[in-house]
């Protein structure tokens, strides 16, 4: 199962829950599953996050393929100056 961890502010929309295990072949499926269960998350997940998969950070990469035991961190959208 893919392990998904949400950063703090996103947990407002999940009742405080921050970790999820799910079957998800891609990041898009992760986003779809979370958005379906927690509709308030949808806008944030589509517009305002960076996603790290086994250590590699992606800003917007819905179709990155996930290994069955991948670790996915949903982080604030990383910005620079």
């Amino acid at each position: 199962m893919v392990k998904v961890v949400l950063w703090g502010a996103l947990r407002d929309a999940t009742g405080g829950r921050g970790e999820f295990d799910m079957d998800a072949p891609t990041i898009h499926k992760v986003i779809g599953t979370l958005s379906a269960d927690y509709p308030e998350l949808e806008w944030q997940l589509e517009n305002n996050v960076s996603i790290a998969v086994n250590g590699q950070v992606y800003r917007d990469a819905w179709f990155v393929e996930l290994d069955p035991d991948a670790e996915v961190f949903i982080l604030p959208k990383l910005q620079g100056g």
Partner: protein, 755 residues
């Protein structure tokens, strides 16, 4: 899932790694370069903004009738002249470019005029009558989080806090990162130190104020000329604020006199366009320096608490940080980045960092070169320096013992891939600066720093001209020398001289969307796109040669700017240079070009280690920097002079922030030093030449191994200087700026305690 691996070349470069003349140098030193304020249009009006004199006030009414009646005034705009409904991501911007019902800081735009000249515009501003109801205000971050603090936004409940607060406060959002058992970690420590730290806000200090020229035509098509780090961002934000489709607005980026993150935000552009729409004429707006300080975003001020435990032999067992970052009138993202980067240099079993974004009646914060990271780095690296002293351990060896390595879980969550923290520390340890004796009367300080680096949305076009020279069109403004690097990478891939490539910054109607020039992304993301576009053009040209020779396309190779038969069986043909292929292009298939669009990932994190030797004048508290060295990984330095410049520039900005820069506010909530005389930034005569040591650990995410370099160099200086002052004087400064009066007060106290 395969890791990102685009690396195709890490040695044998012919153009990359050299130091050709910069393409923008002549125009900049002769005054020909066109910056934001250098564009003119027939019939152009002057636009000016009326700004709130109050740090916090309800706007009961605005009467602009006397201003509108003044001869020479062509338009007045207020919040009512902008779209009512905008995308969620633009709401703070909409309210910041023009106050909606409430002024949230001294300097907040309340109305704007367009008039035939500067004097008329200024007179018009004085005729606008605004009925304010002043409200209690809050400026300092600790005052803002106090129980009885006046609220900047009524009813605001902190996002991201668990349990959710019931009472409104000025804490806009909360975040937490980390892993492991902190209690067990601190219990296992032999020494635990905990300290409070404070930093004042620092402005990006770009020498060019914000400026733009807007032209709204009667058919709805509009043009904007502006100095910006992201003209696509300007377009995509300005258009919805005016309620017009994105395609109707074309934005051209001027040369830019510095940005450093502060020009990734828009202030004037929608206002100028609204004035142009209302007046029917082009409108030019240029900020004064006073406006830049009062009304554009600096980085945050902060209050932090850091606690770290170590064993007697120098292993960190636990680390905990709580950061309150003052973000101005709207919450942002800088506390998050600070919390994420706080302990990122180290491989820790028990770590926690909690960030709080705190709103105040100050200008909305903006990014400043590695936003959030230098602030917490000052606290963490200062405390690590104290801990190393407790056990009498060399500061670099102490950091090496705890350095993050491949396979370590980062303090912000993901597990590290191949990274350069150890090698950067070792290079610093082995650098002649570090091994040289500390001169008498001076103290030496060391600190390490981290930054993420990014890629992002990129679209470029590469065209082979009829004479075989090449033009590359990119969509990110050049704020640090990227055009030279783009030319070098195109020349390298095509095998042609650097002088035969020109790079231009195209307008928003000429390319697909490009993210802003920030995040140390441009050489990385633009570069990989240019290499791919060059490869596409090469494939095209090989195909043309193959047709002309009558051989299969895969029998043609590309080498040193020429198509060649790939082997003896391919045929006996002389190499066909790019100039010949280009000259014959009209007859072989038409114009030759390559393009590439990508959302570039794989930028790779970076680390830096700084060393400083300073002395402190005991009579005046002035700190003199005698020697300063930056050690940092560039992956592959495309143009080493520019890379060195980035290291030096970041270090200088960090040193200025450490020693002198800060906002001073009066009891009336107004900024007291909105000018370069009293907001003292370092100039060339203040500092020695900064030594730059470039390490090259190839980044697999880029075909040539390039890693972003623009931001990491500002992260360590505050702590490096603080640690050097500690060495020189015995005094540990816990507040920034460590200005002469602040240091003198500590020195006097230290002297009294010693007596």
């Amino acid at each position: 899932m395969a890791e990102i691996n685009r690396l195709t070349k890490d040695s044998g470069f012919k153009v990359v790694g050299t130091r050709p003349p910069r393409p923008d140098g002549i125009d900049k030193v002769t005054g020909k370069a066109k910056f934001g304020a250098d564009m003119f249009a027939p019939g152009m009006l002057v636009g000016k903004i009326l700004r709130s004199p109050h740090p916090h006030a309800k706007i009961r009414s605005i009467d602009a009738s006397r201003a509108e009646a003044l001869h020479g005034v062509k338009a007045v705009v207020t919040a009512a002249d902008f779209a009512e409904k905008v995308p969620r991501s633009h709401q703070a911007t909409l309210h910041n470019i023009m106050a909606h019902g409430k002024a949230l800081y001294e300097g907040h735009a309340v109305a704007a005029v367009a008039a035939i000249d500067n004097a008329t515009a200024k007179k018009a501003l004085s005729l606008i009558e605004v009925d304010y109801e002043p409200l209690p205000f809050v400026i300092d971050v600790e005052d803002a989080i106090a129980e009885d603090a006046p609220l900047v936004h009524e009813g605001m409940i902190t996002r991201g806090m668990d349990p959710k607060p019931e009472k409104p406060s000025n804490i806009e959002s909360a975040c937490e990162f980390g892993h492991g058992d902190l209690d067990a970690g601190f219990a296992a420590a032999d020494i635990v130190l905990e300290r409070e730290f404070r930093t004042e806000a620092s402005h990006q200090g770009y020498i060019e104020p914000h400026a733009c020229l807007a032209n709204y035509s009667d058919d709805g098509n509009s043009e904007l000329w502006c100095c910006t780090q992201g003209h696509f961002l300007v377009r995509d934000t300005t258009a919805p604020l005016l309620g017009i489709p994105v395609s109707k607005l074309r934005v051209t980026a001027s040369e830019i006199g510095g940005g450093f993150g502060g020009k990734t935000v828009i202030y004037l552009e929608p206002v100028a366009l609204a004035l142009s729409r209302k007046s029917g004429r082009p409108v030019k707006m240029v900020m004064t320096r006073d406006e830049v300080f009062r009304a554009t975003g600096p980085t945050s001020s902060s209050y932090m608490n850091v606690k770290i435990g170590i064993t007697k032999d120098g292993r960190i067992t636990a680390a905990d940080a709580l950061l309150f970052y003052q973000s101005g009138c709207y919450g942002g993202f800088i506390a998050q980045l600070g919390a994420m980067s706080a302990f990122a240099c180290y491989g820790l079993d028990a770590v926690r960092s909690r960030g709080r974004e705190v709103v105040t009646n100050r200008p909305m914060q903006a990014s400043y070169r590695a936003p959030g990271a230098p602030i917490i780095n000052f606290a963490v690296e200062s405390l690590l320096d104290e801990l190393a002293r407790e056990i009498n351990m060399d500061p670099i060896e102490f950091r090496l013992k705890n350095a993050a390595r491949e396979g370590d879980r980062s303090s912000y969550g993901p597990v590290y891939d191949q990274i350069g923290m150890v090698r950067t520390l070792e290079t610093a340890r082995d650098h002649p600066h570090y091994s040289s004796p500390v001169p008498a009367g001076q103290g030496r300080g060391v600190a390490a720093g981290f930054w993420f680096n990014f890629g992002g949305l990129t679209a470029i076009s590469l065209n082979v001209n009829s004479d075989g020279t090449v033009t590359v069109s990119v969509g990110r403004p050049d704020i640090g020398g990227s055009r030279a690097a783009m030319c070098q990478m195109a020349a390298e891939e095509l095998g042609i001289p650097y002088e035969n490539v020109r790079c231009i910054i195209a307008d928003t109607s000429s390319l697909g969307f490009n993210d802003t020039t920030d995040g140390s992304r441009t050489t990385f993301a633009n570069g990989l796109a240019i290499i791919e576009a060059a490869r596409a053009a090469i494939k095209n040209m090989c195909g043309r040669a193959a047709k002309m020779w009558g051989i299969p396309e895969d029998a043609v190779a590309w080498e040193d700017g020429c198509a060649k038969p790939s082997g003896p069986n391919a045929g006996d043909f002389d190499p066909m240079p790019i100039s010949e292929i280009a000259r014959k292009a009209p007859n072989t298939g038409g114009p030759i070009a390559g393009h590439y669009e990508v959302n570039a990932d794989g930028a790779g994190v970076s680390f830096g280690v700084h060393i400083a030797d300073v002395s402190v004048d005991a009579e005046t508290g002035r700190t003199t920097v005698h020697r300063y060295t930056v050690v940092q990984d560039a992956g592959k330095a495309v143009h080493p002079s520019y890379v060195e410049g980035q290291y030096q520039g970041g270090a200088v900005q960090g040193i200025g922030w450490a020693l002198n820069e800060g906002y001073f506010y009066g009891k009336d909530g107004k900024m007291e030093n909105p000018g370069f005389l009293d907001y003292r930034m370092p100039v060339a005569s203040d500092l020695p030449m900064i030594e730059a040591a470039i390490i090259e650990i190839p980044n697999k995410g880029h075909p040539y191994g390039v890693r972003g370099v623009g931001e990491t160099s500002i992260v360590p200086p505050l702590a490096t200087i603080g640690n050097a002052i500690r060495s020189a004087t015995g005094v540990r400064m816990t507040e920034v700026p460590m200005s002469p009066p602040a240091l003198l007060a500590q020195l006097d106290g230290f002297k009294q305690a010693a007596e």
